[in-house]
């Protein structure tokens, strides 16, 4: 009897520690930023365009997904070189990674190949930072998924079990969730992709309009920030599904459209907008999460102790 109570207590503490731990990890990864400069004119779809060579690239480390079946069998570290730009109406993300093999799927009669793939994940609610592993019902994520040979898809994950059939229909989804990750309706397929494999590396350009009419796809505004995370599947290792490598959360910091204006005005305009988003909405959830985790752990421990003592008393009397 006593032992089971102690075991329960330890389990509660472990869970609390892990959730607090996650909060801490999220908070630290938040520090990494990917600057999204404002560029005048149209953004190049061509992965070989000069612009992509000129921009600074963030190095995003990826690690194997080891929580749910099927696990990744590869434990080697991987890195993505990422940069982005916007022109006030469109956002472009450029991703480059080295890969010894070009894996493309969908050729006639090809049952064996799996295409190299990339996913970029955003919170549906721009101010939030959802659970890194494809969101949850309270905080869904919007995922753009590109696979060599199959093209690009705009998906939503985490919303599946959080909405009523009527709400789902209004969002253009099936009234009953068919899957925790779902393809968005055709009008929400706003991403375009172009990829090129050359000299042992892939170059991928993903472009979307900044605005969105679909509530499952976040609208982006110059001068604001949005969290972003990345995943990569290596086709030659037959990675698919959960067998993948993922990053933590990063921040895409979109430069204001008034970029060419002198520095002082720029800081004034951006601080007003960014302070409202970053201080109030972006950083606090992480710390809040950590604090809530700690408080919850303490509360549960105290309750458990009270119950434990009460039971012991009851037993002795």
């Amino acid at each position: 009897m006593k032992r089971s109570w102690m075991a329960g207590l330890i389990a509660v503490l472990v869970v609390a520690a892990v959730s607090t731990g996650l909060g801490v990890i999220l908070a630290t990864s938040q520090a990494a930023e990917i600057a999204v400069p404002y560029i005048q004119g149209s953004l190049p779809m061509d992965p070989d365009a000069q612009l992509w060579g000129q921009l600074d690239k963030a190095q995003i480390p990826l690690t194997a997904q080891l929580i749910v079946y099927p696990l990744s069998l590869d434990t080697k570290a991987r890195t993505l070189s990422v940069t982005a730009a916007h022109n006030g109406t469109h956002l472009a993300i450029y991703i480059e990674w080295s890969d010894d093999s070009k894996d493309v799927e969908g050729a006639p009669g090809d049952l064996y190949s799996f295409g190299d793939a990339i996913a970029v994940q955003f919170p549906v609610n721009t101010g939030a930072m959802p659970y890194i592993c494809m969101g949850d019902t309270a905080n869904p994520v919007n995922i753009v998924f590109w696979r060599a040979g199959k093209g690009v898809e705009n998906l939503v994950a985490g919303s599946a079990y959080g909405q009523k059939p009527g709400q789902r229909e209004a969002l253009g989804l099936q009234s009953t969730a068919t899957s925790p990750i779902e393809k968005l309706p055709p009008e929400a397929q706003i991403w375009k992709a172009e990829a090129k494999y050359e000299n042992g590396s892939w170059k991928l350009v993903l472009i979307r309009p900044m605005g969105s009419t679909d509530p499952m796809v976040p609208s982006l505004k110059p001068g604001e920030s949005i969290s972003v995370a990345f995943a990569r599947w290596e086709g030659s290792l037959h990675e698919r599904g959960g067998s993948k490598t993922t990053s933590g959360w990063y921040t895409l910091k979109l430069e204001g459209v008034a970029a060419p204006a002198p520095a002082p005005t720029q800081t004034v305009t951006t601080t007003t907008t960014t302070t409202s988003t970053t201080t109030v909405e972006v950083i606090p959830p992480a710390i809040k999460g950590a604090v809530v985790g700690l408080i919850a752990a303490l509360a549960i421990t105290i309750i458990a102790l009270i119950v434990f003592v009460a039971r012991k008393k009851a037993l002795t009397t």
């Binding site: 050729a107 899957s179 698919r240 599904g241």
Partner: protein, 467 residues
Amino acid sequence: MVRAQVSMVMVLDKCIGCHTCSITCKHVWTNREGQEYAWWNNVETRPGVGYPKTWEDQDKYGGGWVLENGKLKLRLEVMKKRDPPKITDYYQPYDYDYEALFTDQLQDKQPVANPINAYTGEPMDIKWSPNWDDDLAGANIYGRMDPNWRTLEKEIYFNFKNTFMFYLPRICNHCLNPACLAACPRKAIYKRPEDGIVLIDQKRCRGYRFCTIACPYKKVYYNWKTGRSEKCILCYPRVETGQPTVCTLSCVGKIRYMGVVLYDEEKVLEAASAPEQDLVRVQREIILDPFDPDVIRQAKADGVPENFIKAAQESPVYYMFKKWEIALPLHPEFRTLPMVFYVPPLNPVITALDARGKYTADYDTLIPTIDKLRIPIKYLANMFAAGNEEEVRKALKRLIAIREFFRLVEVEGKSKAEAAYVLEQNGLNLEDADKMYRWLALGRNRWIIPTRKVELRMKLPKKASGR
């Protein structure tokens, strides 16, 4: 929890290898781009390697379950296998250049429709296709590669006079413990609670192909065109309205029987984890007696409709698998509890010329000893009973008994009562003999399939029954 399953029995003695089942299935379900190579129903020649090549070799394909410290695990997880089968494991689909028959230049020889690659249209040399073993009498080569030879001295069976063959038609087994379902991380595969049909939700499937690895029968086929996997659907739109599957309907040899069995859902895991030699027996045990009042009461409580219970009482599958024990599951050692059963082939007794040049069959009694049959018992046991020869012997003995009984009655003029001892020796009675005769010999009422909804049933003939 009592559940109903629509399942099938195939009587291998009656299969003539005409492939009508495969062709009708192909034309109804897989006559589409992306499924050119897929045969939801196929017929194999045994001994042989089957389709895809040596599919029974799980060291190669990683299908089914393994028992590790008493726990069931997917073999693909134990093997860390991530590679699905290749098109070459099935075959390179081809067509014929029929156009050439009309457009060829006038010449001395007949125009020829040469084989062309179905994908590229290029001329190709056909090297392999489903049932290649049979089509080109290839058993001479491929028969030796049959995985069921394990533990057998195979060479003697390739000698003249010792050779044997039979056909093995295969569909999805709609297993009680499907490995495909368990392997799908998207939970795209489900087993319908009302009739046990295993289906792939095309909306959930993302083409990961874990199911194509995990199915030990290799009956899930990846569609390269749609990027999703597909499989035999047991013709559910037909079955729901009380009609048999097209493979059953079109079967020339009338070898296929369809019916409902009731089973105990809670015992499925236990049955799948039984020791190898007990697998067939334990699978029989979880099939419930549809006449038992307790079973009927529980079935009703668990939502099994009245017409399903009634169908289960008339089900040829119930009689052949559970009651008479003449039908066996295909490779129970894969531990998926397959729900398509096979009555093993009862084959000629090996005869020899005696000193006077006459054929002598070695009869110990009126019933010849099973081990004198041409097809080695061990071979059949490896295929249908996880190596347990007793299960095969029991089935074959009963099949011989029923023939012997009718021989005594029809040829030797004995009364049924006089001949009944042959049946009784083998645990059968006169009533069983009549039923067996009606089903196996006459082929009447080969399918007893209840319709799914009362309103559907109203619009159909009273009972959908065999031709």
